[in-house]
Symmetry: C2
Subunit: 226 residues, 2 copies
C-alpha cells in the first residue's frame, strides 16, 4: 500500500493520481512548496461531478494549516450539492494556478508556460461548527488581503446563516512548477526567431474608493502592501 510507505511529515504522500504521467521532475509534494503556492493566490477552480458530468467553477478559498476552506451562498450549486451529500461528502478537485511567464522557443512545439500550480483531490464537507465557520470566513477574507478580516464588520447571524462553508483536508496534494527558459532542440538554435521568456505577474493598481465612502477615510496599510 502506497499509504504505508509514508513520506516524512513535511511532505504529502504521492498517490497514483498525484504523480504526473510526464514531466515528473516538475512535481513537488513538500508542505513548504505546496503551501506557498496556495498562499500566493485566492481564486481556485473547484471541480465536482453533477449528474455524471464535470463542473469547474472559479471560487475563493482560504487555507488554515492543512485545510482549505471554500465558501458561497447556501443557494449556490456546489455548496448545495456538498450540503446534500454532507455524509459521505462531495468528491472534489481544487486547482490553483499562477502563470509566471510565456516561454517562447524556436520551435512551435517547445513553446510553454512558466507556472506554479497545486492540485488537491479529496472530499469536501460542510462546516457546521460555528467557531470553525467564523475562523474559516476570516481566513477567506485574509487570504485575499491579509489583515482585512480584522478591519471589517464581522458577519452577523443572518449573514452566517446565508453563507455555506466547505472544508477540504490537504492530504492528496501535489504541486507542479515550471521555471526557466525554453528547451530548444540543438539543431534549431541557428533559426532566426527570438527565444526566451516574457515574464508576467498580477499587478495591483491604485485603490478606487467606493462611491459611498465617507471622504477622508484613511487607506489601510494592507492595501498598499499588495
Amino acid at each position: 500500500m502506497a499509504h504505508e510507505e509514508s513520506a516524512p511529515d513535511t511532505s504529502y504522500t504521492p498517490t497514483e493520481r498525484t504523480v504526473p504521467t510526464r514531466a515528473r521532475e516538475r512535481a513537488a509534494y513538500d508542505h513548504d512548496t505546496v503551501h506557498a503556492i496556495l498562499d500566493a493566490g485566492y481564486v481556485c477552480h473547484l471541480g465536482f461531478v453533477r449528474d455524471g458530468d464535470p463542473i469547474v467553477l472559479p471560487t475563493l478559498y482560504g487555507r488554515v494549516g492543512d485545510r482549505l476552506y471554500l465558501h458561497g451562498s447556501t443557494g449556490s450549486r456546489p455548496l448545495r450539492t456538498a450540503g446534500e451529500t454532507a455524509d459521505p461528502g462531495l468528491p472534489v478537485c481544487v486547482t490553483v494556478t499562477h502563470v509566471d511567464g510565456l516561454v517562447l522557443a524556436k520551435s512551435a512545439f517547445h513553446h510553454s508556460i512558466n507556472y506554479r500550480s497545486v492540485v488537491v483531490h479529496g472530499t469536501a464537507r460542510q462546516v457546521v461548527d460555528p467557531d470553525e465557520k467564523t475562523a474559516a470566513l476570516d481566513a477567506l477574507v485574509d487570504h485575499v488581503l491579509p489583515g482585512r478580516a480584522a478591519d471589517s464588520r464581522p458577519g452577523n447571524t443572518k449573514e452566517l446563516a446565508a453563507t455555506a462553508v466547505i472544508r477540504l483536508d490537504l492530504r492528496e496534494v501535489s504541486a507542479k512548477i515550471r521555471t526557466g527558459g525554453p528547451n530548444d532542440e540543438p539543431e534549431d538554435l541557428e533559426l532566426p526567431y527570438w527565444s526566451g521568456v516574457l515574464p508576467v505577474a498580477p499587478v495591483y493598481g491604485a485603490p478606487i474608493p467606493a462611491d459611498d465612502l465617507a471622504p477622508g477615510t484613511p487607506q489601510p496599510p494592507y492595501l498598499t502592501a499588495r
Copy 2:
C-alpha cells in the same frame, strides 16, 4: 423544449446548467462577450471525470470560431482519456477566469471579486485531421502571443505525432461578470473601514532572452505589444 426557443444566432442558448442559481444579472450568453473573455486568456482549467472523481488541470487553449482547442502530450492523462473515448468523446468542463479587482466592503460578508469568467460544457474529441490539427496548434500558439505562430518553426511529423489536440464545440456556454464597487448595507456606511476596489491585472515584464539565443537577435514587435 428549451432548445426549440433558441436565442438569436449571436447568443449561446442558456441551458439548465448555464443559468446560475443566483446573481443571474451577472450572466451573459452573447458571442461578443463570451469570445472576448476567451480571447483575453490562454490558460483554462479543464475538468473531466476519471474513475468517478473530478479532475481539474490547468492547460493552454486556443479559439477558432465556435471551437476551443486544447493540446497536450499524447501521453498525458486527459488527452489519453479523450483518445480512449474518441467515440462518444470525453465530457468536459472548461473554465476561463480573469480577476479584475478585489472588492472591499464595510462588512466581511459583502467582500467580493471583480472578474470575468466563461464556463463551457461539452464533449471533447480528438482532432485527427492533419490540417485541422495544424491550424489548431497555430491557434494555440497565437492565443498566447498573437503573431508568434508564423514566427517560429512549425511542428514536424514527429512532433505532430507526439502532440494530441482535442476539440470542444462552443454550444453550452455562459459568461459571468462582476464589475463595480462594493454593495454595502445602508446601515454599514458609517463604519470607519475603508471600502472600494483594488484593481488587479496581469502585467508583462521585460523579455528575458534565452541563454542560447544568438546575440543581436531582434525582439519581435508582438513581444512588446503584450
